[in-house]
Amino acid sequence: MPPGVPGGAASAAGLSRRWAVGFLTPAMLLIGVFLAFPAIWTIYLGLTDFRLLGPQALHTKFVGLGNYQQALTGGDFLHSLYITVVYVLLSAVIGQCVFGFTLAWVFRQWKGPLRRVMESLIIVAWIVPGSVVAFLWLAYLQGNIGPLTETGTLNTILGGIGLNWWLQLPMLSIVIFNIWRGTAFSMLLFGAAIQAIPPSYIETARVAGASGWQLIRDVVIPRSRGHILTNLLLISLWTFNDFTPFLLTGGGPGNQTQFLPVYVYQQAFQQGALGYGAALSTLVLLINLLIALAYMRILKERR
């Protein structure tokens, strides 16, 4: 920095460092306090037996790795983790990704109103608030037993099978729900990826006699690798952290849909075990970090 310049080196707009720091401070403060700090603080909280109520609420003890021991040996957490991974794999990695790609591929050459209507339909499923779609699906799949004693739209159409989806097939129901809800993102992203492939690539392959499947395998997928990985990362993270299952099933019946966010919520806020919940939070954060880092790693290698 040259000596004697008022306020240090100035930028194009005459922003000295001091101004720049001033401009950055509010945002950095918010991010630091409400994003970065909780992520670090939870590591400490997870080492205590902090409770909302009861004797520990007053006298919080340091319990070391006790919470983690409880999580990793108790069975509940591992069950939760297992079904969450299955849920992510089935509904996001396979369901949304494959379905989204298929839709983008089918829509690729369409213009005109039908395509717009279809796309809007799919996108609306994605943007309607979670607590509304949760009820829509509760109603849609309702069988004739349970708290709502009527039958929903789907069973009415299927006619008297009398399947109570939410009670009898909760995992499948929730997987289908999530595919319905989240496919739009994959479709849009893959649509952009396919648009970005120069038509000459596709035409060349066509002229060489490639079938549709060969075309996708040899031209489209290799050219869209970045988009596919971005998509996988984002939808995996979102699904892994999705709280909507709580609105649908509350984790039940039993613990069949007790995905990690639901489990953390129940432990921390319904059981009041905030120390244990903080340890669980740490674990979820670690898993999120692993997903993100793995993705970045792959993306870097592929470049």
Binding site: S11, A12, A13, G14, L15, W19, A20, F23, L24, P26, A27, L30, I31, L35, A36, F37, P38, A39, W41, T42, L45, L103, M118, I123, V124, A125, W126, I127, V128, P129, G130, S131, V132, F135, L136, W137, L138, A139, Y140, Q142, E150, T151, G152, T153, W180, L188, L189, A192, L237, N241, F243, T244, V264, Y265, A268, F269, L274, A278, V284, N288
Partner: protein, 289 residues
């Protein structure tokens, strides 16, 4: 081709090709019809039931009426929660747009060593530290800062999560405006805030609009954060209110839920349509959640 040269019957191979093409077409339309049904059927209830005097769980319009809306507005919980949602969405939007614009401007105009790395780390943070993952520390933090059970608390927490992506996107917009605009203003004697107000903000208005809409839509639909941080029923936003309408025991009031649900959904769809028409899919697609 002259008519006289047309063969009396097309060769067998051609027929097979034609049949295959027709089958492919039919398959395509069946597929599309199934997709349309898959996406439309669950939604049908939301579109029809609000206009039915006696809605059931099956989507239908047996007794058309508009009375449900009038009834709904008489419900104080509905009015209050919608107002709370508006406060949350607008509050967060203002905080995010204002602080992100300032930060993005500083990052875009003053050389901070390694600022790209910083931005990527922040972005990584914001995608890793989700509401679900950090609900416990966020709850306790809000508790210790005495902003639990306040709209402000929810606004600040949500803003913290949205800011990295907002800064990232806005910085892109700001980077693409030439420095000479600001330099010439500076030569005429304008100060940093004047330059920001008169030159930068008008130039990046599309970016600000995108961030504004995105943050409002995200907050409008957010359930978990207000669910955890707001215990007082009078502060509940619509997302949580509608859940309590159907999760509470007893028979769910389907007239209320359907009408409220539709009214609560509409702003999001409208904002989405505005953004899509103005700026296309790309922005929205990249930054939801």
């Amino acid at each position: 081709m002259a008519e006289g040269t047309l063969p009396a019957a097309p060769p067998a191979a051609d027929t097979r090709w034609l049949v295959r093409a027709v089958i492919a077409r039919v398959q395509l339309y069946v597929f599309i019809a199934l997709v349309a049904a898959f996406f439309a059927l669950p939604m049908a209830w939301l579109v029809l039931s609000p206009f039915d005097a006696h809605p059931t769980l099956v989507a239908g319009l047996a007794h058309p009426t508009l009375a449900n809306f009038a009834d709904m507005f008489r419900n104080p919980a509905v009015r209050g929660s919608l107002l709370n949602s508006v406060l949350l969405a607008l509050g967060t939007m203002v905080v995010v747009v204002a602080t992100a614009a300032l930060a993005a401007y500083a990052l875009s105009r003053v050389h901070v060593p390694g600022h790209n790395v910083i931005l990527y780390v922040l972005l990584l943070f914001s995608s890793v530290v989700t509401g679900s993952a950090a609900m416990v520390p966020i709850f306790l933090l809000a508790y210790d800062l005495h902003i639990i059970n306040t709209i402000t608390g929810v606004v600040l927490v949500l803003a913290g999560g949205l800011l990295p992506a907002a800064i990232f996107i806005l910085k892109d917009f700001m980077d693409s405006t030439p420095a000479s605009y600001e330099e010439s203003a500076r030569v005429f004697g304008a100060g940093p805030f004047q330059i920001l107000r008169d030159i930068v903000v008008p130039l990046v208005r599309p970016g600000l609009a995108v961030i504004a809409v995105w943050s409002m839509v995200t907050v409008w639909g957010n359930f978990l954060t207000p669910f955890i941080l707001l215990r007082d029923p009078s502060l509940t936003p619509a997302s949580v209110q509608i859940y309590s309408f159907y999760s509470a025991g007893g028979t769910a009031n389907l007239r209320l839920i359907s009408t409220f649900g539709l009214l609560y959904t509409l702003p999001v769809v409208v904002m989405y349509l505005v953004v899509q028409n103005r700026y296309g899919f790309r922005f929205y697609g990249g930054i939801k959640h």
